[in-house]
Structures are given as structure tokens and as C-alpha cells.
């Protein structure tokens, strides 16, 4: 049987299609709820994928990722509350249109642009990822060590305002990753005599606690603060943009998609950066830049195409090199590893059937997102009004059942609660849980690479590292990653002020 038949068989079956639909609808809802993030959604649903076929499971997770970004825009447009930071730029023109009574038109433009942006990024993933994965063939122990450190530096330097706290969170994750029996010597490290800790801290419960339970606790904070009653104007009119309008935004959509894909590939610069850059560029290219901010459709098309294009772009370094550029992709990496899939060349050779099916599934998810969006956007808007009193218990119960289901073990539930508390206090004190999770995943890779490098270098590690070209490049990238927040902050400030 040729590859195409296998791929189509893997995707076009009831199981995968249902997972796809669940991912898209679930993602749109999670994205639309302010305070809930795509990362949290992916973390909550990973336990479900455990018992699923890898293709169905991973298609569902990537679908949540892209649909959550789009869902965030629905609430940005209709109630001026961006569901995700990536949708903040959309709120400017989107909400203005809603105020003018053209909310449906705004939703239509957002849907079409998001679908096209996401679709192009899926194609880019399909075309660019296989050749890029060849780089991973040149990796040996020192490169694996440095790539893990690079991944941690990137996440650490970008998710929090304080670089030191971001990096410290990463190191804390590395420490947590030390727990368990050391593979090479058989010595139980930091188990404190508890046999449950011998196999190490299990990743999924830790992840669910850090991202989902901690967020539910954060939600409880605002309890009692007066809930703003959000009035959604009656939504009328056609949702699909007219042909003339569509034609006028095509160049903007294509330009923004390219920007989005490129920004997505760069580890660390996420959807928010891409959408602001695209909005700026759209303004620069426009004949009537003064229209922006008053409710013009290009002001929606630009950030919308870009923030969805980021998703496919961000999957490229994730699948080829194992470098996640954001907290959501860090969690997705956990989802891959659970299925026994290690990023690198093997994904495109040995596991090609699975990988290509997932990529095609991701492209389909973007199209399905458009269909769901055009048919149901006005109903999704209502979801943003669901009260915390209903939402919080549901999230917590899902945290509990999800952590339990991984190994049918109640200890994992206790672990989840412990990490939930750690995550909550980390958030409160300006740390971020994402580097901890990534370090739990990358820790063993980093340690193995480090220990093998010591042996290979015969005592002189520094000169050994400097004798390998890829190592030198990686070391330069690590330095750049440490310096990047300074530039990124300046850039963000400059953009925000302009708008």
C-alpha cells in the first residue's frame, strides 16, 4: 500500500474525525473563555490521547492549539476581551466593528483569515519540516545537551518578565527531573525512600497541576469581584465576507500568513508578536492607514491570519528539533513523547505515516475550524458568559480524572495537587510554570547528553564543544536567547504605543 492510502486511511476514519471535531470545538471554547489558555486545554486533554491511536490523539491536540487561537479572537471581537494574548491586536478593529453593529462581518473576516493563515502554515509545515529534520541527523551527545539548554533558555527568557525567574523555573524543573532511579548507575536519587518516586515524577500529572489546577485557583481569586455584565449586541447579517471585500484583503492575508509562519518558526516569538507585526505591516502597505483602529476589515485580517499561521510555523522546530517555542508547544511535546514519538529525523522516516497524517490532520483542523466558525460563531460568543461557578468545578474534576487515568493510580492525583499548589505560587510570585514542564521533559535528554559528552571529551569539555560547528551555533543561539527579552520588550512597547 502506498503512503497516501495509509495516510488517508489513518485520517478518514470515524475515530480520528471525531477527535478532530472534538479538538476544534473544544479549542474554540477554551480559547473563547478569557482566563483559560490553549496550554491549559492541551494539558487537560493529553490524558485522553493516552488510550487513543497516536494519529487521532495528536490531531486532536494540534486542533485544540490552532482552534484556541481562533476562539480567542471571537471574544476579542464581540466583547473586547481577548481570550488569548495573540488576539489582543484583533480587538482594536474587531470590537469597533461590533460597536457599529457589524459584528458578524468582523467574525466572518476573522474566520476566513484565520483559516487561510492556519492552512498556509500547515502547508509550510508539510514542505519545510522534512528537509529541516535532516539537521537532527548531525546531532550527537553534546548537541542534544545544548539543544535542551537552548529550549529551556528560550522558554525561560520569554514567558516571564524577569529573565532570572524564567531561567530559575527551568532549573527547578531540571531538579524535579532528577528524582527517580538513575539509569546508568541504578541509584535512586531524591526518592526519600518512597517507592512511588523511583520511576521519577510523572510528567502528565505534574503538567496538569502546573497549568490547569493552578489556573483554576487563580480564577478563584477574582471571586466576589463584580462581574462585568457583558452585553453582546444582537448579531445580524451575513457572516461570509462579500467577494469584493474578500478580494481587498487577500494581499494582507497572504503577507500576514508569511509573517506568521516565519515568526512561528523562530522559537520564542509567539502569536502576539506575529499579530502586532502583521498589523503594523498592513498599515504600512495600506493606502489609507488612517482607517486602522476605526473598524476596518484589514485590521482584523492581518493579525488573524498571522496568529493562526504561527501555530503551524511553531510546529516546525518542535517536530524537527524538539525545540518548543511557547508554553503550548512545550505541552504538545509532552503529548508526543507520551506516544513514544521523539522529535527528529525518525518522525519523518520510521514514523512517517503517523507524522504526515498528523500534519494533514492539522491542515484539516484549520478548514473544519472555518466551517464551525462560520456556522456557529454567534453561539460560541455565548460560551464566554459561562460563570466561574460552573467552569471551575468542571476544570478541577477533569484535572483529577485526567491525572488518575494515566496509570490508574491515585498517587498521581496527589502529585497533581502538589504541582498545582507549586504552580499557583509560582504564578503569584512572577515565575511561570512552562519552563518547569519543559525541563521535566528535556532534563533526562540534557543529562544524558552531558554525561556522554564528559566521556567523549576525555576531560576537556570546553575545547570539545568548541571543536563542533553545530555546538558553536547552538551556544551563540543560547546567548542570543538570553539577550532577546531586552529587544522583545522594546519592540512590544514600541508597537503597543503606536496602536
Amino acid at each position: 500500500m502506498d503512503v497516501f492510502t495509509i495516510i488517508f486511511e489513518k485520517i478518514l476514519n470515524l475515530h480520528t474525525l471525531l477527535a478532530l471535531l472534538m479538538g476544534v470545538v473544544g479549542g474554540m471554547i477554551i480559547g473563547g473563555l478569557p482566563g483559560l489558555s490553549a496550554t491549559m486545554g492541551v494539558a487537560l486533554l493529553i490524558p485522553l490521547t493516552f488510550g487513543m491511536d497516536p494519529v487521532a490523539g495528536l490531531v486532536m491536540l494540534t486542533a485544540i492549539y490552532t482552534a484556541a487561537v481562533y476562539g480567542g479572537s471571537i471574544s476579542a471581537i464581540l466583547v473586547h476581551t481577548p481570550g488569548t494574548p495573540a488576539s489582543a491586536a484583533t480587538a482594536l478593529d474587531g470590537y469597533k466593528l461590533t460597536l457599529k453593529g457589524e459584528g458578524m462581518k468582523a467574525l466572518g473576516v476573522s474566520t476566513v483569515s484565520s483559516v487561510i493563515g492556519g492552512f498556509f502554515s500547515g502547508l509550510a509545515l508539510l514542505v519545510l519540516a522534512p528537509p529541516l529534520s535532516l539537521i537532527s541527523l548531525k546531532f550527537n551527545a553534546p548537541e542534544y545537551f545544548l539543544i535542551a539548554i537552548f529550549g529551556l533558555t528560550i522558554i525561560g527568557s520569554l514567558v516571564t518578565e524577569s529573565l532570572i525567574k524564567g531561567l530559575a523555573a527551568g532549573v527547578l524543573g531540571l531538579i524535579a527531573g532528577l528524582v527517580g532511579v538513575d539509569i546508568l548507575t541504578g541509584y535512586p536519587r531524591y526518592t526519600f525512600g518512597l517507592s512511588v518516586l523511583e520511576s521519577g515524577i510523572s510528567l502528565i500529572p505534574a503538567m496538569i497541576g502546573l497549568f490547569s489546577l493552578s489556573q483554576a485557583l487563580m480564577q478563584a481569586e477574582e471571586l466576589g469581584s463584580t462581574n462585568k455584565k457583558q452585553v453582546i449586541n444582537e448579531l445580524k447579517g451575513r457572516v461570509l465576507p462579500k467577494w469584493k471585500e474578500f478580494k481587498s484583503i487577500i494581499p494582507t492575508i497572504i503577507r500576514s500568513s508569511i509573517i506568521g509562519i516565519f515568526v512561528g518558526i523562530l522559537p520564542g516569538a509567539g502569536g502576539d508578536v506575529a499579530s502586532w507585526v502583521s498589523l503594523n505591516e498592513a498599515k504600512r502597505f495600506s493606502k489609507k492607514p488612517e482607517k486602522f483602529g476605526t473598524g476596518c476589515i484589514e485590521g482584523i485580517a492581518a493579525p488573524e491570519a498571522a496568529n493562526n499561521a504561527v501555530t503551524g510555523g511553531a510546529l516546525i522546530p518542535l517536530l524537527t528539533l524538539g525545540i518548543p517555542g511557547s508554553s503550548t508547544t512545550a505541552v504538545l511535546l509532552g503529548g508526543l513523547i507520551i506516544q513514544g514519538l521523539i522529535p527528529g529525523r525518525e518522525l519523518f522516516t520510521t514514523y512517517a505515516n503517523i507524522t504526515y497524517s498528523v500534519i494533514i490532520g492539522f491542515i484539516l483542523a484549520n478548514i473544519l475550524m472555518g466551517v464551525c466558525g462560520l456556522l456557529g460563531a454567534r453561539y460560541f460568543a455565548k460560551v464566554t458568559k459561562v460563570s466561574k461557578a460552573i467552569l471551575t468545578p468542571i476544570i478541577i474534576v477533569l484535572c483529577v480524572v485526567g491525572s488518575y487515568a494515566i496509570r490508574n493510580n491515585i498517587v498521581d492525583v496527589y502529585l497533581m495537587v502538589v504541582f498545582g499548589v507549586i504552580g499557583y505560587f509560582m504564578r503569584k510570585t512572577g515565575f511561570h510554570p512552562a519552563p518547569v514542564v519543559l525541563a521535566l521533559i528535556l532534563g533526562p535528554i540534557a543529562e544524558n547528553g552531558f554525561r556522554q559528552s564528559i566521556i567523549l571529551s576525555r576531560g576537556n569539555m570546553l575545547s570539545y564543544f568548541f571543536s563542533r560547528p553545530i555546538c558553536i551555533i547552538l551556544m551563540i543561539l543560547i546567548v542570543l536567547a538570553v539577550l532577546s527579552p531586552i529587544y522583545m520588550n522594546k519592540f512590544k512597547k514600541a508597537n503597543m504605543q503606536q496602536d
Binding site: F50, G51, L167, L172, V401, I410, Y424
Partner: protein, 147 residues
Amino acid sequence: MKKKLSHDVYIGILMIIFSVFMYLKTGDMPKGAATFPKLVLTTFAFFGFLIFLGGMKKTKNFNTKEQNINLFQKNPMSVLLIVVIYVSMINLLGFFTSTSLFIIALMLFFRERRIKTIVLTLLGVDLFIYLLFVVQLNVFLPRGLLF
């Protein structure tokens, strides 16, 4: 008025104490197993020191907004307590019984008074978990005294 120390000062100190404690533990480890932990813990202590210094600096530039972060707010801590009770009851009462009680307790805590909403949420969640996890994914959820 006595200046309140920034919480970063305490965090920094905690990080250093933690690193030292964990570092001492590496003494029992075989040589190969101890190298990486030592490297990681030294780095952690170093970051702890930097955060401590940053905290001292913040304390100097006294900023009320920064100082007023209350780490132990009443509501999240109460929710946490309810969660801890819930989780510790699962093995005793069984998953579905304790989950149902938890949902009722938490919804009441969130000042939801409409009985219909509570019952519908409860039934919806239990049914969803039963169909998805028990029927579809064959997860054996803990049974307790009742069912």
C-alpha cells in the same frame, strides 16, 4: 514605618537553602550520578542569590503595589482546601460520590444558589466522565463504600 521586605528576598533565601540541602544529598550518590545534580543545584543557588539581590533592591525602591501582593488569599486557599478534602476522599467514598459532593461544595462556595444549575452540572460532568473514561477508555475509577 518599617519597610516590608519584597517577597523575592524570601524566595531567594529559600532557593539557596533548598539547593544546599539537595547538594548535601549528592554525597551518598555514586560519582556519575552526582555530577549533573551538582551542576544543576549550583546553578539554582546562583539564581537564588540573584533573586535575593533583586529583592533587596526592590525593597529599597519601596513600591506599595509590589508589596501588597497577598500570597495567601482567602478564596484560592479555601478552594485548595476543598480540593484536598475531595482528593483524599476519593479512595474512601469512590470517585463518583466524592466528585458529586465536591461539585456541590465548590458551586455553593462560588455562590451558585440555583439548584437546577447545580444538579445539571453535576449530572453532566458525571455522565461525561462515565461515558468517556469508563466506557470508552476503560479506566477503572476508584469505587468506595457506596458505588
